[in-house]
């Protein structure tokens, strides 16, 4: 048994060592032979990627035993002791060589998923290559839990973090080695979206472009600022974005597939934000050592089945339902030792449907300041402090915050509070006055800085970027989110999602003012609306009040919060709210999406495809097609006369 142990994956070994695992590890003859072959290969390849190679050798059926997920919803997850696990830092992905070498057109003969040719291949030929393999693995969410069956990239949850550089084009080969015979409510098909990269459409993870197990796909990330066509080179540096995340976007199954772990972070650096703290030209000198002073916080929420047969499986039967454990970087209520200096945290809410309301609570139970420097990957013009309200993080939103731990004495603990309480299950006194343990998402233990640890960075600059003047739109367009019609459905502009239908066409290089209107009358649905490809500026927000009969009583302007003044790609849209945003569509053409990022709603078809085209002739022709189709469906035209004349407005 010791012979195949190495080849039979670290997961298998983990399983065997697990004290909660009463079953002895039984291996039949067939597995033994298979295992020996893998062990032989693994002995040659002694890298961290052993498991990946082993999986490809077994033809995509990795030896992680399928889960026996509980079918009835547990009233709560098993109990966990707070603050026993250290906050894990997602491993940085390592570049590798790819075989077969990536090509501009899809390499169908070698099993690449069908796609359009890479449109930016010759302009931004990729120079750094990564391999990311989706496969089952076991992950332990807490010391008190047995391992949990997940679908992860390269065996890591959260997935490895890609650390990239503007001007250094990158290519990631996403390989699907998910098992087709494991009965989980997620589906072994995927299409990976880099949220919200300035990515050519064939690499953007369109919801209908998923590929099955055994296939792979090269996503080409040019790593350029938007505005290449106008600015030349690698685009307009004012458009820089920093903190991205990548996740599965498979139509109908985005929620289960993300719940099962198919996501990770992606960071881009440039001279302004170089990924270190040395005084280099142009650097803002923010805390910047990945994993040391610049730490991703990957927020997730789950519900677990009772521990059985050496596993604590996730509860998942279809759409993702109630959750009661808050998870950061793959651990429940972790702790992190921090030195008395500034740290940068890149927070991303990976959903699936839960909104987070985070605040920093000091040892005295009072809220302490967090400085927000970036919203949805974009630096804000002037950093602002959150100290009298929680920071609301809609699904898929990212916030980069800086916490200065020098304000706390060494030996004290500081807490990250989540407004909604989670289920803990063990009786623990309040860690700080007025702070119940269920509301604590994680703990920071403050210590003095050792001489070897990087010294504190200078104060946060009061201005991070010069926000350009708002763009002047060429035309305007309205997206109405409703729940109406016959039959009653979530609709966008009167229609349900159809991945084969285009509902809006824009011209490359043009800019538009979009109104996002949540006109759902019944219920009070909040939709975190996400627009692929381009960042937008919020111009205004208004709220409509209606009487019981549904008549409009008043329309009031709602003042924008500081976090809405910067550029965004997730727009929180409470019931009866209207947001006016402006965007410009640059550099690439193809199919993109606008959708609600509550992944359950997204899977319920609250999504629309829109296309970018590069000639006015094509724009007019396709807009006319849309109007004709709408008229056939008994809907009012969207463009009217303008679609005939070729004018944009």
């Amino acid at each position: 048994m010791s012979q195949p142990a190495m080849g039979a994956e670290k997961h298998g070994a983990e399983n065997a060592l697990d004290p909660g695992d009463a079953q002895p590890l039984t291996i039949d003859r067939r597995t033994l032979i298979k295992g020996s072959v893998i062990a032989g290969a693994a002995a040659v390849i002694t890298s961290k990627k052993t498991d990946v190679f082993a999986q490809s050798l077994t033809g995509g059926s990795p030896p992680v035993a399928p889960p026996a997920m509980c079918a009835t919803q547990p009233s709560n997850s098993p109990a966990t002791t707070p603050f026993v696990d250290d906050l894990p830092i997602p491993q940085a992905a390592s570049p590798t060589l790819l075989f077969p070498a990536p090509t501009r057109t899809a390499n169908i003969a070698w099993g690449e998923a069908a796609r359009d040719a890479h449109q930016a291949w010759d302009r931004f030929r990729p120079r750094v290559f990564y391999h990311s393999v989706a496969a089952p693995s076991l992950h332990r969410f807490h010391r008190d839990f047995s391992p949990t069956y997940l679908w992860t990239f390269n065996g890591h949850y959260p997935g490895q973090t890609f650390l990239g550089q503007y001007g250094l084009p990158m290519l990631v080969r996403f390989r699907n080695n998910l098992p087709i015979d494991h009965a989980v409510a997620a589906i072994p098909e995927m299409t990976i979206h880099l949220h919200n990269g300035h990515t050519p459409s064939e690499s953007d993870g369109f919801a209908g472009d998923f590929f099955g197990s055994g296939l792979w796909k090269d996503n080409h990330y040019p790593n350029v600022y938007a505005g290449v066509d106008d600015f030349g080179g690698i685009g307009d540096p004012r458009e820089a974005m920093r903190s991205f995340w990548y996740h599965d976007h498979r139509a109908e199954f985005t929620a289960p597939n993300n719940y099962m772990g198919l996501n990770g972070q992606f960071i881009l650096y440039d001279a302004k934000d170089p990924g270190h703290e040395h005084p280099t030209p142009g650097s803002l000198r923010l805390p910047g050592y990945y994993g040391v002073t610049d730490i991703p916080l990957h927020l997730h929420a789950m519900l677990f089945c009772p521990t059985a047969n050496g596993r604590t499986e996730a509860f998942l039967t279809g759409a993702v339902g109630p959750v009661d454990k808050w998870i950061i970087n793959g651990k429940i209520q972790p702790k992190l030792t921090v030195r008395r200096r500034k740290y940068r945290f890149r927070i991303v809410n990976t959903g699936v449907a839960k909104e987070w309301n985070l605040s920093l609570i000091g040892p005295d139970g009072q809220q302490k300041p967090m400085t927000v420097i970036a919203t949805d990957a974009n630096f804000v013009q002037n950093p602002f402090v959150i100290n009298n309200r929680p920071l609301l993080i809609p699904v898929a939103s990212r916030f980069d915050v800086i916490i200065d731990f020098s304000q706390f004495a060494a030996g004290t603990s500081v807490y990250l509070r989540e407004a909604q309480a989670q289920f803990v299950g063990v009786s623990v006194p309040d860690p700080a006055p007025g702070l119940p343990i269920g509301n604590v998402a994680m703990r920071f233990d403050v210590v003095n800085r050792e001489p070897s640890f990087p010294a504190d960075t200078p104060p946060i600059p009061s201005t991070l970027i010069a926000m350009p003047a708002p763009i002047v739109p060429d035309s305007s367009f309205t997206w109405r989110f409703t729940r109406d019609g016959d039959p009653v459905r979530f609709r966008i502009n009167g229609q349900v999602f159809d991945h084969n239908r285009v509902d809006h066409v824009v011209l490359k290089g043009s800019s538009e003012e979009w109104t996002l209107a949540n006109d759902v009358i019944a219920g009070n649905w909040t939709h975190p609306v996400h627009i692929h490809f381009e960042e937008g500026r919020i111009m205004s927000r208004s709220h409509t009040t209606r009487d019981a009969a549904g008549n409009i009583v008043s329309v009031d302007d709602v003042p924008l919060l500081p976090e809405e003044l910067g550029r965004r790609d997730v727009y929180r849209l409470p019931g009866q709210d209207r947001l006016v945003i402006r965007l410009r569509f640059r550099d690439f053409v193809g199919r993109y999406l606008i959708h609600c990022h509550n992944m359950n709603h997204e899977d319920d078809f609250m999504m629309v495809r829109w296309d970018v085209v590069d000639s006015v002739a094509e724009l007019t022709r396709r807009r006319r097609e849309i109007d004709e189709r709408r008229m056939l469906a008994g809907l009012p035209p969207q463009y009217g006369e303008s679609a005939k004349t070729g004018r944009l407005v």
């Binding site: 033809g59 995509g60 399928p66 997920m69 079918a71 009835t72 899809a106 169908i108 099993g111 998923a113 069908a114 796609r115 359009d116 087709i180 015979d181 494991h182 009965a183 989980v184 409510a185 589906i187 072994p188 369109f206 919801a207 209908g208 472009d209 590929f211 099955g212 197990s213 055994g214 296939l215 109908e252 039967t317 279809g318 759409a319 339902g321 109630p322 729940r483 016959d486 039959p487 009653v488 459905r489 349900v496 999602f497 159809d498 991945h499 084969n500 239908r501 019944a522 219920g523 649905w525 053409v589 193809g590 199919r591 359950n600 319920d604 078809f605 495809r609 296309d611 085209v613 094509e618």
Partner: protein, 219 residues
């Protein structure tokens, strides 16, 4: 793309790929007793779902707008594309949302009116409690205003593939191509060879689209 291409898995036994007994569905799907349009008593899971690929459509006989539209849509799809599979490896179960009104005779009359007494088609009525349980399991939005209102669930299609342990949904009011693709997504997983063949065909389709229209028209 030819309609025929959408259903290349004809003849592949349901769940041929999968381990027996791998289904989680038995515990998720109610196994209550329902009555069919022929007043036959059936157990929902054991007799209608177990080991099969089944489309479940919520309707009621007195519904005047979208239920008949949905039923007509399914009848069209049946005749155009699905007929070779229906009753063999694909089934359609229509469940009455208003079981108090719909006795087997009423369901039979509704089916006859829409020419829907077709191979593989079943119409069901039963106890209100069982219907509600079924409706919650399949269609719950986790939103009380929507989940309490049976009208909001009429005309919705769930596609259950018991052997692979997954369910899917489709909006019958999307385009025919899209509805058929959604049904196809629920087919038993194909062999790697078949997946690679489909992938090659898809690439040919993309290239054809680009040659014809200059852009990728369909997903």
């Amino acid at each position: 793309m030819k309609r025929r291409e959408l259903f290349t898995t004809l003849g592949q036994p349901a769940g041929a790929c999968c381990k027996p007994g791998a289904s989680r569905m038995a515990a998720l799907i109610p196994n209550a007793v329902f009555r069919t349009q022929d007043d036959r008593r059936v157990r929902f899971y054991d007799d209608l779902i177990k080991g099969r690929q089944v489309m479940v459509l919520m309707m009621y006989a007195s519904c005047e707008t979208y239920c008949p539209l949905a039923t007509q849509r399914m009848v069209e799809l049946h005749h155009q594309v699905l007929a070779p599979r229906m009753g063999k490896d694909l089934f359609l179960v229509n469940v009455s949302l208003k079981p108090e009104q719909d006795d087997p005779a009423a369901l039979r009359a509704y089916a006859e009116m829409h020419h829907a007494l077709l191979p593989g088609w079943t119409f069901l009525t039963g106890d209100r409690y069982d219907v509600d349980t079924l409706r919650y399991r399949f269609f719950s939005h986790d939103h009380i205003g929507i989940d309490e209102d049976v009208e909001q669930h009429a005309g919705l299609l769930k596609i259950v593939n018991d052997p692979v342990g997954r369910w899917f949904h489709a909006d019958l009011f999307a385009s025919t191509r899209t509805v058929l693709e959604h049904i196809q997504w629920s087919d038993p997983p194909k062999t790697l060879k078949a997946r690679l063949r489909d992938n090659r065909k898809l690439q040919e389709k993309i290239d054809r689209d680009r040659a014809l229209y200059g852009f990728r028209k369909i997903a």
